[in-house]
Symmetry: C2
Subunit: 396 residues, 2 copies
């Protein structure tokens, strides 16, 4: 108890600094407890998640450091968890972390804040205890939807081109581009979003002030200037393998859909795809030449995990469920016109041959042929002895 009071007293001022506003006592204790939890645990710690969900962060912390018994049904789990938590406990830890964050220009966002992204709450017991943020934290709640564009570091120029095009076009309709600031696809997506004047969010595996990869420190600074750079780990934290894997779950959770642009057969971006699928978020993959190993993971996602085949920003919007055609007019509208003209030229009873249909629809026979093929595919027309007729009910 006194250790906790001591820790809280130490952190009081730096807490207000990292929050950028005066804090009431209850708020301060809540935020302080979350910082302390953040220091005790690795991202996605389910034992901490369950305890905090049950008794709240401050009381949970008291249980964690041994000042109070755990609820009976959690006791065994907490006893085991304390073995990994306690070696990290330092009363001055929260103070130091907040002070370091303030120095690095990093803010702290916790559940309940206006900026807290409700979408990551879908991670339930594995949601982060807090987020460390550089840039405009309000952008963590994308007003017009967010899409994760991720992929291989060892991307090809095709992949980087496609990532850039998709990012730019999605930004043009107000969408936010979420990625991981890595070389290759991630970088291309962020850069194109910035160039299009759009909003982009970079999730880092290490501290928000610790640019990784170092070669992207300028890019990450530019993202922080107009968008937001986010991490689940405190300032200065190293980007470990585990943190990369856990970072991927945040990218998937914050986004309405995840699209893998290029990925090798064993690419790490398949991990992000796995998180998206586990969260029930729509998953897409961009096809590429089957002769390119950089697309093998994408084709694998399509074949084995039912990822949707993504060929345009419209496909991404459809994937994400942003189906408002008034907002996003379909550029293929002429397709509908032709189909309609062919359907109009058909009868349900009398079969018509290609020449007749071409005449009535005012289309070239070759055009009619294609439309008929597609309509047949959809079960909308049937060919008989003398030509084509419309099928009213879709029997197939």
């Amino acid at each position: 108890m006194s250790a906790l009071s001591h820790s809280f007293a130490l952190a009081r001022d730096p807490l207000e600094g990292v929050r950028g506003l005066p804090l009431g006592d209850d708020d301060a204790r809540e935020v302080w407890a979350r910082v302390a939890w953040n220091l005790l645990t690795e991202p996605g710690d389910g034992s901490a998640g369950r305890l905090i969900a049950e008794v709240g962060a401050p009381d949970g912390l008291e249980i964690a450091v041994g000042g109070r018994p755990a609820p009976a049904h959690l006791a065994e789990d907490i006893a085991r968890a304390r073995e990994r938590w306690m070696p990290r406990w330092r009363p001055e830890g929260a103070r130091d972390a907040c002070a370091a964050a303030v120095r690095a220009g990093v803010q702290l966002v916790v559940p309940g804040d206006a900026s807290w992204p409700a979408s990551v709450d879908d991670l339930q017991g594995h949601r982060p205890v807090c987020l460390w943020v550089r840039g405009n934290a309000r952008l963590l709640q994308p007003s017009s939807g967010a899409v994760a564009l991720v992929g291989a570091r060892a991307a090809t120029s095709y992949g980087e081109h496609v990532a850039g095009e998709l990012a730019a076009e999605l930004c043009r309709t107000g969408a936010t581009i979420v990625s991981g600031a890595a070389y290759g696809i991630d970088g291309a997506a962020h850069r194109a979003a910035l160039a299009a004047g759009g909003t982009t969010i970079a999730f880092l595996a290490g501290g928000a002030d610790r640019a990784y990869p170092a070669g992207h420190s300028r890019l990450i600074d530019r993202i922080a200037a107009t968008g937001v750079v986010v991490s689940e780990t405190p300032s200065g934290a190293a980007p470990t393998k585990w943190r990369f894997l856990q970072r991927n779950r945040l990218i998937a959770a914050l986004s309405d859909a995840t699209v893998v642009v290029e990925a090798g057969w064993r690419s790490g971006s398949l991990n992000t795809a796995g998180h998206a699928a586990a969260l029930g978020r729509p998953l897409g993959a961009v096809p590429g030449p089957i002769t390119s190993t950089a697309s093998a993971g994408c084709h694998r996602l399509m074949r084995e995990y039912d990822a949707r085949c993504i060929t345009s920003s419209d496909d991404v919007r459809e994937l994400a469920g942003w189906g408002d055609s008034a907002l996003f007019p379909d550029p293929m509208d002429d397709r509908t016109d032709r189909t309609t003209r062919v359907i109009d030229a058909l009868s349900v009873r009398t079969e018509k041959d290609l020449a007749q249909i071409a005449r009535s629809s005012g289309l070239a026979p070759a055009e009619v042929e294609v439309e008929l093929g597609l309509l047949a595919l959809a079960g909308g027309v049937e060919q008989g002895s003398r030509g084509w007729r419309r099928v009213v009910s879709r029997a197939r």
Copy 2:
């Protein structure tokens, strides 16, 4: 009646010529009636198909030319159909067609023949009344399966390369390559099959002796020399639009699976895909760069018509249902090994971190990471507070 007897008498000798063997009277009448039907009708004539299915070709022909009344329930349909059939009726037609075929080295195959491909009977009322064949007619019954490789005439070098690779690899395991002898994808598939010493079948829209396109006459001759060139239309017949569309149904029907290698957004090969789907035959499409208009139709088939994403000849074999792994060992077997090693390193109860799993499995952490991502995707592992654990029942 006498008109028919006259027609039959005229055709008697040329019929034996085109069949290459002496014919009994019943056989001769059956074959002669089918040739006569072939001349009266366009491919896929449903009225003719129904009548022949009900009363047989010779009696049906008698009804068609007015020597006998139609069955009451077909009378109305046949009366309408006769309006298009009778203008084509010539007593000497069958004789001339058979004589022309003999001169052109074209044989005649009819239902019931040992060479008749049972697979086209799935077309039911729209199955061809006969097939005109150059080459080895016995190859119409592929012993180790047949795959249609079709696609755009305006193919890219990528598409032609892939068509060639797939054709050659499929031939190596004994499969027959079916296509339409067109420029682009079709030609590349046929050529690679020939080069691999495999069997290939070309379906033409015009007569089997009428090379179309003319620029492929040498290729078509080479196909006839070791494989088989087939048409539903008699020698010398012109390849009309309608006949192309109907020819496509034969390609789809004869093949265990249809794979579209490259196709524009409105490509005619989507018609073949439509036939395959309508027949319940598996449909595949090869992805390509989304920046290539030549792959747009393939991506469309994947997105809108659930065509399977094809990246290798193994994928084609799987698509066609030739799943015998003993015959076709999985070249990705090392994948299973790695996955097994990672699974072995995991426990159902105790979570293990990446370093532990890497140590126990003897794999590099980066390799473990990828396998864990894929296992998570499949619901086989779960990440908790301290690492990964195995999931026994697939809850998802």
